[in-house]
């Protein structure tokens, strides 16, 4: 056993030298191996870093496409349509008594008076609701809520994917006739309508059930053409009893040019024509026949910056009526054929958040008489009115207005001095007003 162990001990140095070669070899192998491992790790780390970097675009700088789902007006109109509420309230004062105001028509033009209370008025709290229905239609509704209840003033669709240039609007909507007719009262430049509107169309404007087709051709200048087929329920112009079925039609064209960066003009003719049956010609009468209302509008806007602008606007209207006038008390009928006109011109200058405006209304521009009960009456003084106003817009959503009217449109020798202090406030998502 001891000899064996000695022999073993003897062998150790041998094995050591063998081993040291072997060990060195093995160490070297190990070192080489670890070097290649290191290299592999570094390469793999490089790949991981690359992957991390290339992943960042999806994280945050993502292809979110949220606005596509959100539709036309931003945000998510999928579950909630855009809703806004505009409250138009004013304090009204006049030297004429309330009862007289209601009956204060414009002789020869309209029996409709001024339907306003002296004192605090809530014109309306108007709900505007709109959203895309689907890729084919956008839906709009305008629901004024007054103390007497809610009415659907407008509820219409607009097509969004007809072939180029065409668009159809249908339902109950404000006609594209004229400049002011399609504007909502909270967007008006004054607290009330020009006298020509009250004289020929009435305070509610031409808001009818029907269908409208407009076309915007690809021309070097902006030119919009439109035709309308309407039910014809406007009390002043047509009347629901004039004929069964749609009995009013409209045609209009609006052109626009830019002059430089700061100036734009918009102008064009409009026509409304149809069957009429109305009591508004004169007290105790009923007119049955046809009416055609022509309009030519002109607007000039100069806006060099957001804090300064000037708008000059004017419309001239001519109404032709032909038919029979029934005097209800006498049961006498006489033919009535007449042609009447009127116009307004207004200018508004804006500086910072203030706007100052002036307006002049005149009826029967070219003639000195008007027809009533088959006989010519002299005007004496043509119906006219002058208006001045001052507005302060705290933000785009709130507006205060002070307006004074010197109204001589009732041709009775008296002046109606009117003062308005108006406050218009809006909340919610409201579509932008057109030019």
């Amino acid at each position: 056993m001891r000899i064996f162990l000695c022999l073993l001990f003897l062998l150790i140095p041998f094995s050591k030298s063998f081993g040291s070669d072997d060990i060195e070899q093995r160490v070297k192998t190990l070192e080489d191996f670890s070097k290649t491992q290191q290299k592999t790790i570094e390469e793999q780390q490089g790949v991981i870093d690359e992957l991390k970097k290339s992943q960042r675009p999806d994280e945050g700088y993502g292809r979110q496409k949220t606005t596509a789902a959100g539709g036309l007006f931003g945000g998510s109109a999928l579950s909630n349509p855009n809703i806004s509420l505009v409250v138009n309230s004013f304090f009204y004062s006049s030297n004429i008594s309330g009862a007289e105001l209601l009956n204060r028509g414009i002789p020869g033009f309209t029996t409709a008076g001024i339907d306003r209370q002296k004192g605090f008025n809530l014109d309306s709290a108007e709900l505007f609701i709109f959203a895309p229905v689907d890729p084919y239609f956008n839906l709009y509704a305008n629901i004024p809520v007054t103390e007497n209840g809610a009415t659907v003033e407008e509820a219409y669709f607009i097509t969004s994917s007809l072939p180029e240039g065409l668009q159809i609007k249908g339902g109950k909507f404000k006609s594209g006739f004229g400049r002011i007719n399609s504007q909502h009262p909270h967007a008006w430049d004054f607290a009330d309508l020009p006298i020509v509107y009250r004289a020929f169309i009435g305070g509610e404007g031409v808001t009818e059930k029907g269908i409208q087709l407009t076309y915007l051709p690809q021309l070097p200048v902006y030119m919009q053409l439109g035709v309308e087929a309407l039910q014809g329920e406007n009390e002043a112009l047509f009347g629901p009893d004039a004929k069964s079925g749609p009995h009013a039609y409209g045609v209009f064209a609006k052109a626009s040019f830019d002059f430089g960066d700061d100036s734009t003009i918009l102008f064009g003719p409009s026509v409304l024509t149809g069957n009429t049956k109305t009591n508004s010609v004169a007290k105790g009468t009923e007119f049955t026949g046809t009416s055609t209302l022509y309009d030519i509008e002109f607007t000039y806007k100069w806006k060099p910056s957001k804090v300064r602008s000037f708008i000059l606007q004017s419309e001239y209207m001519l109404r032709d009526q032909k038919g029979d006038l029934l005097n209800t008390a006498l049961s006498a009928v006489a033919p009535l054929k007449r042609s009447q006109d009127g116009a307004y011109i207004q200018g508004i200058y804006q500086i910072e958040r203030w706007r100052i405006g002036a307006r002049y209304d005149l009826l029967e521009i070219f003639k000195n008489q008007y027809l009533l009960s088959g006989s010519e009456q002299a005007f004496g003084e043509k119906p006219w009115r002058a208006t001045g106003d001052l507005e302060f817009n705290l933000t785009e959503f709130s507006r205060i207005r002070l307006q004074y009217n010197y109204d001589r449109s009732a041709s009775d020798g008296r002046t109606n001095n009117e003062v308005f202090v108006q406050l218009i406030l809006g909340i919610g998502a409201h579509a932008a007003h057109p030019f």
Partner: protein
């Protein structure tokens, strides 16, 4: 009739692609990618405040003829772009179509409030929309614009791709120059007129400590000015940042009262002759901040 319909539904085959961009920087980026194969119309002038643009009939007409409408998004243009799109009667640019390009889908918005209402002023609910001041974001927008152009005009996809590579190369060069500038800007503090420069502050390491507008879109009251003067005395910021057409007078008047410097940064491409395209816009901005 069938011929007419096929003309209207055919993709752009003849003539240049008609690009309508709302803001000047978008038009400039589109031009860099599309070059002579596209026709660019920009709706907003560099001198206009982009928050208050009214849709003129001439803009509606431009949108009518567009193959693609590109806009900043994040509700900056909510006052006119939806109206333009509807009035244009152009089926190509309706939402969801390839001709309707919201550039903000490619960026990472900052300053998205958790909740907001209008008592806070004219707050941007979807985030700060002035991301054209951020190089990293603009790179992604440029890629998106190249994609969109290639989708609309497949025949020239390689051309747009090549121009995108060219843009990226120039971008890499410029980034080196800009990061040198960034070192000098790190830690500086400024007062700004409006919340215009937040992306710039984030990317280049400086801080905006207060605004001349007490709330976005609300002009400064006398009381707020007094508060600002106190703040300036205490915190001693480096300068007041403003743009030439929005807040210049108010900023200069504040500067006179406090002895602070006013730095007038370009609000967009084309404000001056020196700011011809987006690269020179960033160059000029960083130069002025020095």
């Amino acid at each position: 009739m069938i011929f007419l319909f096929s003309l209207t539904t055919a993709p752009v085959a003849f003539g240049k692609v008609n690009v309508v961009a709302t803001l000047p920087w978008i038009g400039s980026i589109a031009k860099a990618i599309g070059k002579d194969k596209i026709e660019v119309t920009v709706l907003v002038k560099p001198t206009q405040d982009p928050h208050y643009v009214e849709a003129k009939p001439s803009m509606i007409l431009a949108a009518r003829k567009a193959d693609i409408l590109m806009y900043d998004g994040l509700d900056l243009e909510i006052g006119y772009v939806p109206l333009l799109i509807e009035s244009s009667r152009n089926p190509n640019i309706q939402p969801g179509k390839p001709g309707n390009l919201d550039c903000s889908q490619y960026i990472m918005p900052i300053e998205k409030p958790l909740s907001a209402d209008r008592s806070m002023g004219d707050v941007h609910l979807l985030g700060n929309p002035h991301y054209h001041f951020s190089p990293e974001n603009i790179l992604h927008v440029t890629e998106g614009i190249a994609d969109a152009l290639s989708q609309i005009d497949q025949d020239n996809a390689n051309f747009y791709s090549a121009n995108l590579t060219e843009f990226k190369d120039r971008f890499k060069e410029k980034q080196k120059q800009w990061s040198d500038k960034a070192l000098k800007l790190k830690g500086k503090r400024f007062i700004a007129y409006h919340k215009y420069f937040e992306y710039l502050a984030k990317d280049f390491g400086f801080e905006i400590v207060e605004y001349v507008e007490p709330k976005p879109g609300i002009p400064a009251s006398a009381a707020h000015i007094v508060r600002l003067i106190e703040l300036i005395k205490q915190k001693k910021p480096d300068a007041i940042l403003t743009t030439p057409y929005y807040g210049l007078q108010e900023s200069e008047s504040l500067a006179k009262k406090t002895g602070l410097k006013v730095i007038i940064l370009p609000q967009d491409v084309g404000v001056t002759d020196a700011v011809k395209d987006w690269f020179s816009f960033m160059d000029q901005t960083l130069l002025l901040l020095d």
